[in-house]
């Protein structure tokens, strides 16, 4: 059980900073210098440790439930190796991941009035919209995967989580 859960953690693709190359290419291009973490004014970017997997050690990860990415876009231009595409400057162009709403645990989908994710989404009324019955719905074409919704979700564990995409 322990081994299996550890294995699952180690194989879970992490959420990367905005502008990241697809995961495989990112792991090859990232030189583990930590400059992106230094540029992050919100301390959203953390350095991955052994528990994230040996191959990931020293790479930048975002743990959205602790601190999401606020899309200030300060990290892509400082990457020395191009592991984060320096050309990604607009938050709308980011594709870190995609928010997924668990309709079984989401308060709004369960009938309670809640619009935390909708209110705090940086792409207001675009990436997360409220349907006719005031339930949040993710537009996967617009969602950039910043994780702010996962961070503010009042349920425990979060009913909305970001699935890392790997790529831009």
């Amino acid at each position: 059980m322990f081994i299996r859960s550890t294995w699952a953690v180690m194989n879970r693709q992490p959420l990367r900073p905005p502008g990241a190359l697809p995961e495989r290419e990112f792991l090859a291009a990232c030189i583990r210098c930590g400059k992106c973490a230094q540029a992050c004014p919100y301390r959203s970017i953390r350095m991955a440790g052994l528990l994230d997997g040996v191959a990931l050690m020293g790479t930048p990860v975002i743990r959205a439930r602790e601190t999401p990415c606020f899309l200030c876009m300060k990290c892509p231009p400082v990457c020395p190796s191009g592991a984060l595409k320096r050309t990604v400057r607009r938050k709308e162009d980011v594709r870190m991941g995609e928010a997924l709403i668990d309709k079984k645990t989401c308060l709004a989908w369960e009938g309670t009035l809640c619009r935390s994710c909708y209110d705090d989404c940086p792409l207001q009324n675009e990436a997360i919209i409220m349907d006719a019955e005031l339930r949040p719905v993710v537009d996967e074409k617009k969602c950039v995967g910043c994780g702010i919704c996962e961070n503010v979700c009042p349920t425990e564990p979060a009913a909305v989580t970001v699935r890392p995409k790997g790529g831009v």
Partner: protein
């Protein structure tokens, strides 16, 4: 000169371990980065080995990265491996450990003659394994990179990573097994920097003549923090051009040292 080097070493450690992380943490990012790669305003500087590694792992040329390795290469071509002797925090740490060992009278298990060959073997193994595994192994084996990146991480997150284990192994190995074992025999960063040499590279030259008389005091050999013999022939590519031997040289005639820094091999000043 010895004093100047100590000051530069201290400034380097303060800069990369404390000043840069603290400034960055407070939102000032004009200067940022670690000894893998750092930026002073628009000037980007990257460890040449890291640049080559990324070329091999990504199989593509990132122009920004290629330009950023030029400054260290030009420095090495002009002044030799002054990065190792004057800036690298691992060298400073190893020098400290070595001084402590000397004071405590610790004897190492092995006493091989310093040689660049194992270093080239490590470098070659890394450069072969990097494209095969697609992993930045040079980053994981760069002692100055690890030290500066983990110092920054400590300032930021209050934690350090297992990467620091390598530094512990280096220090233990240098205390118990081989004197200055990492810098003299294994370090891939220094090994790669040492390749950037030509006849015009600054070097320590032992050139006694009628005017510059050597009294044979061996102060230079005693002063060398790497355990090299500045009067011997095979000083390069091992020497860091730190200058301690030149400073220590006890000239027979005042101001006429037989040991000096020079640009062109074998030519009188």
């Amino acid at each position: 000169m010895k004093r100047a080097r100590k000051i530069v070493q201290l400034v380097s450690i303060l800069t990369f371990f404390i000043i840069i992380p603290v400034l960055n943490k407070n939102g000032i990012v004009f200067i940022s980065g670690t000894l893998y790669s750092f930026a002073v305003g628009p000037v980007w500087i990257t460890d040449p080995l890291i640049g080559l590694q990324t070329l091999l792992t990504t199989l593509s040329m990132d122009r920004v990265l290629l330009v950023s390795v030029l400054i260290p290469i030009v420095f090495a071509l002009a002044l030799g491996r002054v990065f190792c002797g004057w800036i690298c925090p691992q060298n400073s740490l190893s020098e400290l450990a070595d001084a402590a060992a000397a004071r405590l009278g610790i004897n190492r298990l092995f006493g091989p003659k310093p040689s660049a060959l194992p270093r080239y073997a490590v470098l070659a193994a890394i450069l072969i394994a990097v494209p095969l595994t697609g992993l930045p192994l040079a980053s994981l084996l760069s002692a100055p990179g690890i030290l500066s990146a983990q110092a920054a991480r400590f300032v930021y997150e209050g934690t350090v990573g297992l990467e620091l284990g390598l530094i512990g192994l280096i220090v233990l190995g240098e205390l118990a097994l081989v004197r200055r074992g990492w810098c003299n025999f294994l370090c891939p960063v220094g090994g790669f920097l040492g390749l950037f040499r030509w006849k015009g590279t600054l070097r320590v030259a032992f050139a006694p003549d009628a005017d510059h008389v050597c009294g044979g005091c061996r102060s230079c050999a005693d002063a060398c923090r790497l355990g090299l013999d500045p009067m011997g022939a095979a000083l390069y590519p091992l020497c860091h051009n730190c200058g301690d031997c030149v400073a220590a040289c006890g000239a027979v005639k005042l101001g006429k040292k037989p040991l000096m820094f020079r640009r062109v091999r074998g030519q009188a000043e």
